[in-house]
């Protein structure tokens, strides 16, 4: 299906009186179903605002968003989200943290009591996929930052969301953990094919993971460039050092530098 996410002409101004900062201005982005899209831009360009608008957490001042053929006028109930901060609940074990969405999203919420075993197995499989086997019963504060982040990504995925919104989920991790998680993310995406919007400031990450990359301008954010990544799947980390990728990263970098200078 084409255009799973269709964000057209979205402007967003903070504050209720209409005199706040303009965060987004005529931002337009279309994402196909099952596509992996990355959004890059200079810091403070409204990338996180974009996430909130797409998921319906904030209403745009102008323009609109259509997700899965429906106009977004309230928070979506089909989205999985992960942030730079893992935001695990410290009173729940890792397994219970991952299963949190199942207690809320239908039809799982009404079945989870009866079919807890089945759901638990599912959560364990997912945790094993990101290398957290054996940590299911640990509490988040007993895990390292990278492990918590893996768990947080599992939480975003457990209910098989059609739309996955990732806001710099690997931003706070060290390089090696980050690359490891890129691979895990790619495996998961190839296996399940959700539609993914990844906000990041790491251009290598964007090129490695995404099918298409949007470049945003400095605030007020709008899309100033769009690049397709022509790399075969599954991708290997070494590809990020090939001339094609390096060229693409430099190209994106130039756009962002230019956007920063304008600001």
């Amino acid at each position: 299906m084409k255009n799973f996410v269709d964000m057209y002409d979205v402007s967003l101004r903070y504050g209720e009186d209409g005199d706040g900062t303009l965060a987004l201005e005529n931002a337009t982005m279309r994402v196909d179903s099952g596509e992996f899209v990355a959004v890059v831009g200079p810091s403070g360009c409204g990338k996180s605002t974009l996430m909130k608008v797409v998921t319906g957490l904030w209403a745009p001042t102008k323009g609109g968003i259509i997700v899965d053929g429906k106009e977004v006028d309230r928070p979506l109930s089909i989205a999985g989200m992960a942030f730079q901060n893992p935001t695990m609940l410290p009173w729940r074990t890792t397994l219970d943290n991952v299963m949190l969405p199942l207690e809320i999203v239908q039809p799982h919420a009404s079945k989870i009591r009866r079919e807890r075993k089945m759901y638990e197995a599912k959560a364990r499989d997912l945790l094993a996929l990101v290398g957290l086997k054996g940590f299911e019963d640990k509490f988040p504060w007993q895990l390292s930052g990278g492990m918590q982040q893996r768990a947080s990504i599992c939480r975003a995925l457990i209910h098989d969301p059609a739309l996955l919104m990732l806001d710099e989920p690997f931003g706070a991790l060290d390089m090696f953990t980050r690359e490891e998680l890129w691979l895990a993310m790619q495996d998961i995406w190839l296996a399940r094919r959700p539609t993914v919007v990844l906000v990041t400031h790491d251009l290598r990450e964007a090129v490695f993971l995404a099918d298409r990359i949007f470049v945003m301008s400095a605030r007020p954010g709008r899309m100033i460039a769009e690049r397709k990544v022509e790399l075969p799947r599954p991708r290997a980390l070494s590809m990020t050092y090939e001339p094609y990728t390096v060229g693409l990263v430099l190209d994106l970098r130039d756009h962002i530098s230019a956007a920063r200078e304008v600001a």
């Binding site: 957490l57 979506l76 109930s77 089909i78 935001t87 809320i104 999203v105 509490f139």
Partner: protein
């Protein structure tokens, strides 16, 4: 061939102050020391018993009047417990409401702060006019004093849920109530249990104030009667009993806190400062 002398690694001596049993006995030792110094002070300066009775005189009075003390202590304990129970119920309910809705917060919080500023001693005579002399004013005073700290703490715990976490839940389509139940309430629990420790002690203060102003039973009343008859050692015995009950209730609240919210102290055992 040179002989290499390996210096013996300096053996670390465990400090006595880190000894666990010593730590456990420390509060008792402090109390005992206070009593000994007190006794010495009273004996050395020959202070009259109706000014400051010595600990031995206080204990003697306590032993002599153990019957009335027990009856009245039980009365105070019951009024405190009932008032405290209502404080928990109302504090939780109103705290959740205020913490989860900025509308309710903006509307009610200033009034609550104003109400909390009123000295409760001033309210007791009014309560006595309304409900007569007896347990009811004491229960209400205990309630009035202890419910505010609970309310404020629960509201704080709920209102300070991380915005990202709220986004995660809202993007799943969680209702307001689901967000409160899954995240807000558990998150507020450490605040709630911490507030119980404060609330239980002020609940005691409330009961005793009310008993002193207008009641015919309870430790507060006993102390009032004792001092009016110049039975100062008995009045002090009443004070000691009150203090002991306060510590016991605090210990219970603290024990429950550690059991219920061990995750908040990351299992380090730091929260259990009973």
């Amino acid at each position: 061939m040179s002989e290499i002398v390996v210096p013996a690694a300096p053996r670390r001596r465990r400090k006595f102050s880190r000894n666990k049993n010593f730590r456990r006995a420390l509060p008792w030792l402090v109390v005992a020391a206070i009593f000994i110094i007190w006794q010495f002070f009273v004996d050395a300066f020959q202070i009259e018993p109706f000014v400051l009775p010595s600990p031995t005189a206080i204990f003697a009075a306590g032993w002599q009047w153990q019957g009335p003390i027990l009856v009245n202590a039980w009365q105070t304990f019951m009024t405190t417990a009932v008032g405290f129970f209502f404080a928990i119920v109302f504090g939780l309910a109103v705290g959740v409401a205020i913490g989860s809705s900025s509308l309710i917060y903006d509307g009610f919080y200033p009034a609550l702060v104003g109400f909390n500023t009123i000295p409760k001693v001033a309210v007791v005579p009014i309560l006595i006019i309304w409900f007569g002399v007896g347990s009811v004013p004491a229960i209400i005073t205990a309630f009035l004093l202890s419910f505010f700290p609970i309310l404020v703490n629960v509201a704080t715990g709920i209102a300070t849920v991380e915005p990202e976490l709220q986004d995660v839940l809202r993007a799943l389509g969680a209702s307001k109530w689901q967000t409160i139940r899954k995240v807000g309430l558990p998150r507020a629990m450490p605040y709630f249990f911490a507030s119980l420790k404060v609330a239980i002690t002020v609940a005691f203060v409330g009961s005793i104030i009310a008993e002193t102003v207008g009641s015919n039973s309870g430790i507060g009343n006993l102390m009032l009667v004792a001092s009016s008859r110049f039975e100062v050692p008995l009045a002090f015995a009443g004070l000691l009993v009150t203090g002991a009950m306060g510590i016991a209730m605090y210990a219970v609240a603290s024990f429950i806190e550690v059991r219920m919210t061990g995750w908040a102290t990351r299992g380090s055992g730091m929260g259990g400062n009973t």
